[in-house]
Symmetry: C2
Subunit: 221 residues, 2 copies
């Protein structure tokens, strides 16, 4: 669990070289970027709704309003597109982490992260990638963008876990990796969705209930 300094949340993909003339970002390039953003956003909506296997490139194309062949000019495969979706969400997570007050208690930081993940999922903005699909897993592990983004987020969360354990607010008997996995797993937990289907609770109530089971456990105290 390595702590990495992350002075800025989203380093620009092609930052201007120091001393170089600021490159004129052509209108065409801007449009291209916007189009790619729209594609990834549509893909993430579908990934959240149906998962990787049931999402089809036809659906993505239809959602964006372009031809399927055009998708492949931006992303070479379905796996690459899903990876871009994960990178996007990890970037959003990083942006959220940057908004948290630096001096708050580490345990509260962790709760805030989990809360953010569950709300994103309930809002249909959290792509759900099956852990079993080998072609997808291979593509993710081969994507430096993905691994970088994941590591940045994991390092930040990991440092909070260590701090909270040193703090004695988080159980020190649990391996930090177990805690990290347990927190990440809230992003694919079916419980919030089932509770939502029941219609008895608001999204915020659902989040509070699941947060309680996660941090306080099921036992009576």
């Amino acid at each position: 669990m390595l702590q990495v300094a992350t002075p800025f949340a989203h380093p620009a993909k092609n930052p201007p070289l120091p001393g170089a003339r600021t490159p004129q970002v052509s209108f065409k390039t801007q449009m291209l970027q916007a189009r790619e953003d729209a594609i990834v956003e549509a893909a993430n909506r579908l990934l959240a709704e149906k998962g990787f296997d049931l999402m089809t490139m036809d659906q993505v194309a239809a959602n964006v309003g372009i031809a399927k062949a055009s998708l492949y000019k931006h992303f070479s495969s379905k796996e690459q597109l899903a990876a871009a979706g994960m990178v996007r969400v990890l970037g959003q997570a990083q942006d959220f982490l940057a908004t948290l007050p630096t001096r708050a208690a580490p345990l509260d930081q962790l709760k805030a992260v989990v809360r953010w993940m569950m709300l994103a999922r309930l809002a249909g903005r959290m792509p759900s990638l099956p852990s079993e699909n080998s072609t997808l897993r291979a593509a993710l592990l081969a994507s430096n963008d993905y691994l970088d983004a994941l590591m940045r987020v994991s390092d930040q969360i990991g440092s909070w876990i260590e701090a909270a354990q040193a703090n004695c607010t988080l159980s020190a008997r649990l391996p930090p990796l177990l805690v990290l996995y347990t927190l990440y797993a809230r992003a694919c937990d079916p419980v919030p969705e089932f509770l939502k289907l029941g219609g008895q609770h608001s999204d915020e109530e659902i989040v509070q209930l699941v947060l309680s089971t996660c941090f306080d456990g099921l036992n009576a105290r």
Copy 2:
């Protein structure tokens, strides 16, 4: 959360009618049943390994050693086969419930059930059905065998939840349905698998760790 008396774990599919001559179970019928069992077992292995969407009927047929067309003489669709797999597992769960000592503390009963689920999953015997797939969900909700088996197990677990809350060993502030879902969710939790991939813990250790996060929570006590 209705408690239902379940005097026997597995009622025979076609119990002899009272007063009727015990039907001679022909050798052929026995073989047929055994074949179907083998099909469902193979399907469950594949469902546990790859999930519903990635499992193909060709793979099932190859695993059993029969032609794909023969599968369809036993099960009219992939969804029906998966439903039969779930009924099988629910039957195994029911058998396990029947072995638990009747007088044990309800909280311990619940822990024992979760432990059984996680061990079954780590052993590759727990089919993982995606909650999103609508054709599958429809087939499950249309299957009386499935709904019956699910209700039997849920009633038993639900009665323990109520008892444990009355007992003050389980947090009384949590809606029983939330507790039930949280326990069921251990059957599709990715955390045990990830820990297993790490290679640092035995299956039993993994189960104990996840049991601890589930019942004790992440907070220090």
